[in-house]
């Protein structure tokens, strides 16, 4: 019986198959790990205090990040957060707003609505390390009035040298 041999293949260029294998693996890795267009609203310019102790919160879906800034002459903190879905930039939320004779509390209103819509609502406070307590206190009181008991203080791991703010 006559045997048929496979025709000899001659290389016409560089073999790109291993390259494609590796690149495909990298693409799948990046697609799984990378978060594109997801933001918690954390302000990366805020320098939080450093701590040794800390826990990681992986589930940030039910968390609202409040960026709290202050100044030596301010009587009210500057609070910014992403309150609406689809927002890309955090907007300022006042603690107290005077509307004619009526005193409105926008932050408390936002937090109450957030608490009502999320069974496991939690608030992350990202504050400047120089923030004074009388400013932070107003945010904490708003959280308490909105019946949010799970309040987390974002810090950065001691010696990390970089802000852990999520973007």
């Amino acid at each position: 019986m006559r045997k048929h041999r496979m025709p000899e293949m001659k290389e016409g260029g560089v073999n790109v198959t291993p390259l494609i294998d590796i690149v495909m693996c990298l693409i799948i890795f990046f697609m799984l790990v990378a978060k594109i267009g997801v933001t918690t609203g954390a302000d990366s310019t805020i320098q939080p205090p450093e701590t040794i102790l800390g826990t990681k919160i992986e589930d940030i879906g039910n968390a609202l990040t409040l960026n709290v800034r202050g100044g030596p002459r301010l009587e009210e903190p500057i609070v910014t957060a992403l309150t609406e879905k689809g927002e890309h930039e955090p907007r300022e939320i006042k603690i107290v707003e005077q509307r004619g004779t009526v005193q409105d509390r926008p932050l408390e209103r936002v937090l109450t609505a957030f608490q009502r819509n999320n069974a496991n609502a939690k608030v992350i406070i990202l504050g400047e390390k120089d923030l004074q307590y009388h400013l932070l206190e107003q945010v904490l009181i708003s959280c308490a009035n909105a019946k949010i008991t799970n309040v987390n203080f974002q810090t950065k791991p001691a010696g990390s040298g970089s802000v852990v703010a999520q973007k």
Partner: protein, 154 residues
């Protein structure tokens, strides 16, 4: 004169992969540039809401024994914080404060109060810096206290 052209050797051994490689490389570069690899973040957690000084505003369900409060007064000092909590006096040194609070917790245990029944109430002054508050908060957690909350400023 007859000019001989170079011998063209062409082997088709499969589909042309070049456009695929181009596109895949573009996707790879896009994902590497646009993606962000978020860490989980680093947080000090609290499930205790702020309360007004004196504790009159805190709702205690009927039939429950209120927690033993440990009031920790915090002020700014030249080298960080100054803490006053019962017989504890600490200034600036986190490790010393942690050790003193751990001793306090042991004393509570010896007196029959479990750690989860002790409520640490941080009472910072009006102008106390957030980093000092966090330092004391962390020291209390590291000492083994589980319930750490805030009171309004003094």
């Amino acid at each position: 004169m007859k000019i001989k052209g170079a011998k063209q050797v062409h082997y088709d051994s499969g589909p042309n992969m070049t456009p695929l490689v181009d596109v895949v490389m573009v996707i790879l570069i896009f994902l590497m540039m646009a993606g962000s690899f978020t860490q989980g973040g680093w947080f000090l957690q609290s499930t205790v809401p702020i309360k007004a000084k004196g504790g009159s505003k805190v709702d205690v369900p009927p039939g429950t024994i209120p927690d033993e409060p440990l009031e920790v007064r915090i002020d700014n000092a030249a080298d960080g914080f100054r803490v006053l909590a019962g017989d504890i006096r600490a200034t600036g040194d986190k490790e010393q404060l942690k050790g003193a609070l751990a001793e306090k917790l042991k004393a509570y245990g010896a007196a029959g109060t479990p750690p989860e029944k002790v409520q640490v109430v941080l009472m910072p002054g009006r102008n106390v810096k957030y980093e000092n508050i966090v330092a004391v908060y962390e020291a209390a957690l590291r000492a083994g206290f589980t319930k750490v909350g805030f009171a309004t400023s003094h």
